[in-house]
Symmetry: C2
């Protein structure tokens, strides 16, 4: 079974429903993003435009805006908050690509390969600071608390990943701790801060936070599965990147555990010492699929997607809630 087949039986969710509901808001968020990435220092908007223009799905700001709407939006705080969330996300991408020496990002050459690592680091710092300037304008100390904490947790997750990523004995718990911090935390914080900015009740804020956290986990698990199942053209980054970097993601960890002593030498050479030949990625992928590690990863992703949907039960059914449910399905049914 290849990854496409493993994904096939899943309910085909979509981000389109939410995107349509939030179209006007997101257009305004885009205007804020463009205005606030400007700087008299011309390298900054050029580099920022390169990565922001490439777009991605804008899931995190979308989540902030939707949570803000669901919780009864007021003023324009949710829009500025959403732009701030996208800036924080973009800053972490710029730094990550330097840290990982990645080649591609959002289907384009990574910024550090065009402008150099120093510019990527510093423009990341610029965007991070801009995010906090925007948040100050929302006037919500609580939203700032949530997002400054999230930024700190993300950095901790990145360092943890950096120091443990090549550890063949990484446990599933530590792996989940890493992706919870480096990915899910920002989804959780975006949704929670959106709700907070609208003045939602503590229960509604907590529900949206739980939705975001579980959605983020589902997304990252599906991402890690896609790295062994997708193709470079649709992924917008190199398929097999995680393997070539020797990153111990769940599909690999499960496969290493399940293939047992027979393949110990292969994993130690290819991941532990990163001595890889051209054919190793295909071999690893075949093993991962054969022992059911890809399927198990996607099944876990399904569970988190279900948890995300369940967290929404405190809200009455609405177009917004249906859109959020569809987004959770999308997290685990997408091909890229």
């Amino acid at each position: 079974m290849d990854a496409a087949e493993a994904l096939f039986p899943r309910k085909p969710g979509s981000v389109d429903r939410l995107a349509a509901l939030a179209r006007e808001d997101m257009a305004k968020v885009d205007v804020i993003i463009r205005a606030r990435m400007q700087s008299p220092v011309s390298v900054i908007p050029s580099l920022a435009d390169h990565i922001i223009e490439a777009g991605g799905k804008r899931l995190r700001p979308l989540l902030a805006v939707v949570a803000w709407r669901v919780a009864g939006a007021r003023g324009d705080g949710g829009l500025k908050l959403a732009a701030a969330v996208e800036f924080i996300h973009t800053a972490t991408l710029l730094h990550d690509d330097v840290v990982d020496s990645s080649r591609l990002r959002r289907g384009k050459l990574a910024a550090h390969l065009i402008w150099g690592a120093p510019s990527s680091v510093l423009v990341g710092d610029f965007l991070f600071a801009r995010a906090f300037e925007l948040m100050v304008e929302t006037g919500s100390l609580r939203a700032m608390e949530i997002l400054s904490r999230a930024s700190r947790v993300i950095a901790e997750g990145e360092v943890l990943q950096l120091t443990r990523a090549h550890d063949l004995k990484l446990t599933q718990d530590t792996y989940l701790e890493i992706i919870s911090a480096k990915t899910a935390e920002l989804f959780a914080a975006a949704a929670e801060a959106g709700a907070v900015t609208a003045g939602a009740s503590a229960a509604h804020c907590a529900a949206l936070r739980a939705y975001g956290l579980n959605l983020g986990l589902a997304f990252q698990l599906a991402d890690d599965a896609l790295d062994y199942g997708g193709v470079t053209e649709t992924l917008g980054k190199d398929a097999g990147d995680d393997f070539r970097e020797g990153k111990a993601t769940l599909p690999l960890l499960l496969a290493m555990a399940r293939t047992g002593p027979r393949e110990v030498e292969f994993w130690e050479r290819a991941i532990g010492r990163k001595e890889q030949t051209e054919l190793d990625f295909r071999k690893a992928r075949d093993l991962i699929i054969a022992v059911g590690a890809l399927d198990a990863t996607l099944t876990l992703a399904d569970e988190y997607a279900d948890n995300a949907k369940a967290a929404l039960s405190v809200f009455p059914m609405s177009d917004w809630r249906a859109g959020l449910e569809s987004l959770a399905d999308f997290a685990v049914s997408r091909r890229a």
Copy 2:
């Protein structure tokens, strides 16, 4: 005349007076710094401790605490703010050293040479986020506005320096714009935010901001002069670093303008193309001193130090004000 002689006729200020007045406060700030650099991810406190333990003069947090006291301190907001300022400063040092590939920092091996550039980038991000967590606790949106703006301006200054640093035609104005952003802004913001946290009047906040800005400019100009006059042992970083990196600081810019066509080839080779021999630094230093470029740089530093002292005239004379005046003298009379 060497740098020591150029500095000699200056009033020998000191940071000791302020440090003594703020001793108790700074001890508390230190406790906050140590507590908040902790993380379950052990690389983070190790790396942070390496650079924070080395100390430096803690001028920026000292400035925040003193401004807070001068403006009539209340609560403990000023102490948390001071710790946040030190975290922002430390984060920029970590990123700068990666950007500049510096070898030494505060007399110790630069962190990226021990833990690697990726860890330095990510721990910088951690400290930056921690700074904002601390600021949220002060409860002052205005202080957060000042420091998020300062963080953004610093990043702009760093990028401007990165893209223009080797430009032999850099004007004195652009040079001042760079050091104003990358150095003086945080001094200004620390002093202003300290005053804001104490609930000072707009006039007092503005005066302390002006003091900080001018003090920062005086410090950076003296620093740039010391790079051609100091010795590595007392500087805590390599003397001649700026020259070897081909950084167009004011002593160099003035010397290039004043030595005229006779030395054009030397500057273009050594700075423009960075083709340097062992003897070039000494030659450059001799030229810089001979044409009075070192003296002119220090004279400009004196002017800013005088501006800093003048900005304090809105405050009645006190031990604190006298301490701030002495710090301004220290900025331009120090040997390291």
